[in-house]
Symmetry: C2
Subunit: 479 residues, 2 copies
């Protein structure tokens, strides 16, 4: 799909206006960040950078794009000619995929010609908002499952083909081990998972014949869906009959899947039946409209579930289906000088952070794997102890303080531009990186309900710059 037109009309209207009214060498920097975490969590898991960088690198307008834009009768011939020859000149600095990121921290920072950077807004937000949303939901569910494997099963309920496929990729970043969606499995090298549907059982004269037919075709993959008729009276007894047959032939039965009913009670009873029949290794998979809280509740009750298959509530993040990431101007280069920019608001939380920034994760000096806070700084600051900082949360009691005895690690890296690092392509390496990053955070920030707020600070220098610009904006507007 031609993502350069996945752009709001007003981006083109503004770009045409900039072209007509401002110097063509005007440069700008925009930051992508969010303010609220879905599901009242404390952090978001970043995803989508790979697709963003690929799209920006190959950004151009086709002849058909230009014909369409011409047909809108809104743009000057000079601007359309400029678009027809445009190539990307923007650079991208970003958090690596899998990073846990807190509100207001820049996720991606785009700098380059104002017109180009403006035109990239819509599709960058679309990709980052969607993929980070699903990675975050996946992290929550995987956290609730305490290490039990989760298969992503949501393709049929995803919001369109891209949502299914890039959603499955994001689910793996957040911790899932496999997907049922072969589009995603083939594209991103994810293990494919699945068993059978009720239609298989119905296509044979009875359930036992259906299970036997399956065992004949897949003697080493005997994983049976036991709830077509009655889990305990029919499904599990028939599964045990077939497990005995395949065991006698030297094959190890895989297990059963329960997709409806009271999963907890059914799993407890099914487990006992399987154990009593001599199949303690046969696994139980649960897969009915599950979400993080249901998974946690099932495990809290002691339901003997070995794997989860999770669909619609993961692939749409149904309990909180929007990540409201924004794309805000941070600075502009005018007459060869970078001028910091701000968007003011009646609400202090909504005032943007000006300038070219870096995010640092702050670790205890005696334990490099225990993060205690993040600091948002201007990119050219030196972050060394003692460091004067201001709480980024304006509602906090202690507005400013001094951090001592720490190690600081910069989180943003350049991914497009003169010093670009390569993007990690191995999805399970991104997953491992994400798990390692999350492991460094305080446990209390990871609760599914009412997590503790992780401290995020601004350097005193950044906070002062912001104050100056707020004052200046008020002054400008009064005149």
């Amino acid at each position: 799909m031609n993502l350069q037109l996945l752009t709001d009309l007003y981006e083109f209207s503004m770009a045409n206006g900039y072209y007509a009214t401002l110097p063509h060498d005007r440069q700008a920097r925009f930051d992508v960040f969010y303010r609220r975490v879905p599901d009242n969590g404390s952090f978001v898991i970043v995803a989508g950078l790979q697709q963003v960088v690929e799209q920006v690198q190959n950004w151009h307008f086709t002849k058909e794009n230009i014909e369409y834009l011409t047909s809108l009768n809104e743009f000057t011939p000079e601007f359309l000619d400029y678009l027809s020859k445009i190539k990307n000149h923007c650079s991208i600095k970003a958090l690596p995929e899998g990073t846990p990121v807190f509100p207001r921290e820049p996720i991606i920072s785009i700098s380059g010609p104002l017109i180009e950077a403006q035109l990239l807004e819509t599709f960058i937000l679309n990709i980052i908002n969607h993929q980070s949303l699903i990675a975050t939901k996946s992290w929550q569910i995987n956290h609730a499952a305490q290490g039990r494997p989760i298969m992503e099963f949501g393709a049929r309920r995803a919001q369109g083909p891209d949502a299914a496929t890039y959603g499955a990729r994001s689910a793996v970043i957040g911790g899932c081990t496999s997907t049922s969606n072969l589009q995603a499995a083939s594209k991103f090298n994810i293990p494919a998972a699945g068993t059978m549907a009720h239609a298989w059982v119905e296509s044979f004269s009875d359930e036992l014949s259906a299970f036997q037919a399956w065992a004949k075709v897949y003697p080493d993959k005997v994983s049976l869906l036991v709830d077509t008729y009655d889990v305990l009276k029919s499904g599990v007894p028939n599964a045990i009959r077939v497990f005995k047959q395949v065991s006698a032939q030297g094959h190890q039965p895989v297990g059963i899947r329960i997709d409806s009913g009271d999963i907890s009670q059914l799993a407890i009873k099914a487990r006992k039946m399987l154990d009593d029949a001599g199949f303690p290794k046969a696994k139980i998979t649960a897969s009915d409209a599950l979400d993080a809280h249901v998974v946690k509740s099932l495990l809290d009750e002691g339901a003997p579930i070995d794997n989860f298959g999770i669909g619609e509530r993961l692939i749409t993040s149904s309990s909180s289906p929007v990540l409201s990431g924004v794309y805000k101007l941070a600075e502009e280069k005018i007459n060869d000088q970078w001028i910091p920019k701000i968007k003011v608001s009646d609400s202090r939380e909504k005032i943007t952070l000006p300038g070219n920034k870096q995010v640092y994760r702050i670790y205890r000096q005696d334990n490099l794997h225990q993060a205690i806070a993040d600091v948002i700084a201007l990119a050219d600051e030196h972050i060394t102890a003692p460091l004067k900082v201001v709480n980024a949360n304006s509602a906090a009691t202690h507005a400013s303080q001094v951090l001592t005895n720490f190690n600081a690690k910069p989180l943003m890296q350049e991914y497009l531009g003169s010093n670009a690092s390569p993007i990690e392509n191995d999805l399970f390496k991104i997953q491992q990186f994400s798990m390692d990053q999350v492991a460094e955070l305080p446990e209390a920030t990871k609760r599914l309900v009412n997590p503790d707020r992780y401290p995020v600070y601004l350097t005193a220098t950044l906070a002062e710059l912001q104050e100056q610009l707020i004052t200046k904006a008020q002054f400008t507007e009064e005149h």
Copy 2:
């Protein structure tokens, strides 16, 4: 995107199993339907048929698809060879896009070789579930807006590029007049809409200069975003200054957009300021995190809003982001005879409807535009008065009754197969068709909160067939 792999692994596992164990000429019919309406509404607006028919028509597996499937080491060489040569043999009967459809009514019915029909499940559900979800949400919001134009503004918050683009198309089916997303606008011939972002205003030395620059570039499209600094103290006064300038030059100012703050109070005050300044025709657009209930509440308060721009809560249907449409076996052709099939369940609502079916909308005999009920029938039944029917809602007090004095209109048409009708391609004709269909329904079924339940019946013949199969299924499972 290669949608033939947007398929759950288990569809291929079952297809390979069918190929190994069942006659290759086994035919099947599957129905797509849903059980619950998003947002507790009473109906869903169908969308997605165009993309489904296009995909099914052109369905085939590429060399790369077959190589990937081979790499899974799960399928026989004979099955893979069969897949490599496969072309579509399925026919599709469906409700036209834009139809309001009630729970349990077939939306699409697919018949053809069992293996092919099984492999189509995942992507058909993905497309229909997503697009119908957004068309339904769009209908709700447009209903609340009482005819005021709604612009679809959600591209940046949609769940991926397809969700943005096909979501915009679905939003138009549900009643929206335009979209900001140029991908959707160009692909589906939708008017493109939009004004300016805060970044435009910030890119000039002050708000007035920014507005003046806009007016210079777009003298006939002076639609100004007035909330960058302060709507009433700065935005509207500056807009009025610029409106006076463009009016003096003979241009008609378009209006203002308010994107934050208390929209109702701001709109009332801004309206007065615009009227007092001599611009009663300048329109007010509202666009901050709106949904059907917010729109209704604003209009109930008398907020003078002329247009709405609606983003994330429309494009993700955030208050109810999943339509749980399913794909269930209805009949199989074995030895040249169609055998009706059923999926039983402890919950009567979840028991499927067997056989080849048609949906009829029942109108008063004296008013062909006043629908009073729907009837689900077997396709070969004659639907004439008096008609014995059974309430499809098993919780209803009056289980069965006789319908008299009515006209019945069949709703499903063939779109792929020997008697296929052409698919409507003109999106605004689909929108008009949808509005006409909805206009025929009782007003009480259209309430945003607690709508009246519209009666849906099964013919006595269909209900009896279902009962026979329930009994037979119990008998089979006891043996």
